[in-house]
């Protein structure tokens, strides 16, 4: 049941990845169009020390863990 739910959540991503193999993908946001994304207010994690501390606080008091990490960014946007 849980495995099925996880599969359903991942399916759209797998399909997207499969489509990407059909041909080269042209970047639809050009480098010169990324000025807003490069703004520090657009960082998914501007304060890594603070983020790690709060995850520590939550993980100590909640049963859940993991899945919070960000995978880097494309434009100073981690």
């Amino acid at each position: 049941m849980k495995a099925t739910l996880i599969f359903r959540l991942l399916l759209p991503i797998l399909l997207l990845a499969g489509l990407s193999a059909c041909g080269p993908i042209e970047p639809w946001v050009k480098p010169y169009e990324r000025d807003r994304l490069a703004d520090p207010i657009m960082s998914l994690d501007l304060d890594p020390v603070s983020t790690a501390y709060m995850q520590h606080v939550f993980e100590a008091r909640e049963g859940a863990r993991g899945g919070e990490g960000s995978a880097g960014g494309g434009c100073g946007c981690n």
């Binding site: 639809w28 994304l37 703004d39 790690a52 909640e62 049963g63 859940a64 863990r65 995978a71 880097g72």
Partner: protein, 378 residues
């Protein structure tokens, strides 16, 4: 014990998964000095966290973190079954990022020490930029090894191993929207419960109506979490972010986490407000009151395994200074963050009220979390 393990997980995130900012650019050189204070539920925890990151040449960046928890605990668990205590935990981490082409490889080592607990973790991750840097894919693996001891029994030594598998994806969707997704599976094997904690069971021979016995967790646990976040740039230079995480594990815990935040710059200031909502179902072997001694094969009464709803309200103010640089410093920020944490437990009862056995009111935790830190980029 649970608190201690959580520190290791967060540290791995800090040095590994959060490592590279861009797959083909090393993270900025920076230093952060943070003071943290948690105060709630009879527990006070404070201490520093210091992080320094520095490039050496064009392809290598080193990072180091030193973190301390000074704990003074008279929590609901402690006051009902044991004596208040003080404890200190020190955590040290070092890591390195190596950039080659569009690929960043990262390694890190973490050690956490306290009087009755030692944990070592080793992490490795690879990030690859793709599609004109619109997409960054990160694969991460970590191995953790714990040694659990008891302060009142020198002969008590138990071990536990943990492995982390993580896949992360960051995607630029439009010139105003960026999204991140992370799938993480964690497996544990070994002694996973807290050696001090107990469960309570109905005992008519005891005048108070119940007694305690040691808790007993399964020796294995596997969890999977899927998190997604999206951040959008608003037309008047502000940002709004939404987050969701689904979590499930082999102990029967299922949880949902949702959060929304808003960031608004104003001159040299930046203000952020955030609301986070977390719900979880209980573990299969959790009970607030077992019907008799050794009623089930596995048993736990940790409130972290019970059914509850947690809410978190955050206010953050950041002030940027030295924006034109000073000496080797490019810029700096000073930050103050306040988090209000409210947890309403559904089936973890407050035994300090003296109500009838099994009819005590549900416990509620109300805590304040303060962070004051200064950051330098150089």
């Amino acid at each position: 014990m649970k608190y201690r393990r959580a520190g290791i997980v967060a540290s791995i995130l800090l040095l590994a998964t959060y490592g590279p900012v861009i797959a083909d650019v090393l993270p900025d050189d920076r230093a952060d000095i943070l003071y943290h204070l948690y105060d709630g539920g009879g527990v006070t925890i404070d201490g520093p966290s210091i992080l320094v990151r520095k490039k050496v040449g064009k392809s290598i960046s080193f990072v180091a973190n030193y973190y301390v928890d000074m704990i003074s605990s008279a929590s609901i668990d402690v006051v009902t079954t044991a004596s208040p205590y003080t404890e200190e935990r020190q955590q040290k981490s070092i890591g390195m990022d190596y950039l080659r082409g569009n690929t960043t490889m990262s390694i890190s080592v973490t050690n956490s020490e306290e009087s009755d607990f030692t944990s070592d973790s080793y992490s490795f991750s690879v990030s690859q930029g793709m599609f004109g840097d619109l997409t960054t894919l990160t694969l991460a693996y970590s191995l953790g090894k714990d040694e659990v001891r008891r302060s009142d029994d020198d002969t008590f030594v138990r071990e536990a191993d943990r492995q982390f598998y993580s896949v992360g994806l960051t995607q630029i969707m439009t010139r105003n929207l960026i999204m991140g997704m992370n799938v993480e599976t964690i497996t544990d094997e070994g002694f996973l419960n807290n050696p001090y904690r107990t469960v309570r069971y109905v005992d008519s021979s005891n005048p108070i109506g119940y007694s305690y016995e040691a808790e007993l967790y399964p020796n294995t646990r596997t969890s999977t979490a899927i998190g997604i976040k999206a951040r959008y740039y608003l037309p008047y230079r502000a940002a709004i972010q939404g987050e969701y995480r689904f979590f499930t594990d082999t102990w029967g815990i299922l949880s949902h986490t949702g959060a929304i935040s808003y960031t608004h710059p104003w001159g040299a200031w930046t203000f952020t407000g955030k609301y986070r909502h977390y719900t979880q179902g209980q573990a299969d072997f959790y009970s607030d009151l077992f019907p008799r001694s050794e009623a089930t094969n596995f048993r736990g009464r940790d409130k972290e395994l019970s059914k509850f709803v947690s809410q978190n309200f955050r206010l953050q103010a950041s002030y940027a200074f030295l924006q034109d640089g000073w000496g080797f410093v490019d810029k700096g920020t000073v930050n103050l963050i306040y988090d209000q944490l409210l947890i309403d437990y559904d089936n973890f009862r407050d035994l300090t009220t003296g109500a009838l056995v099994g009819e005590e009111p549900a416990y509620r935790l109300d805590a304040g979390v303060y962070q004051l830190f200064i950051s330098f980029w150089f």
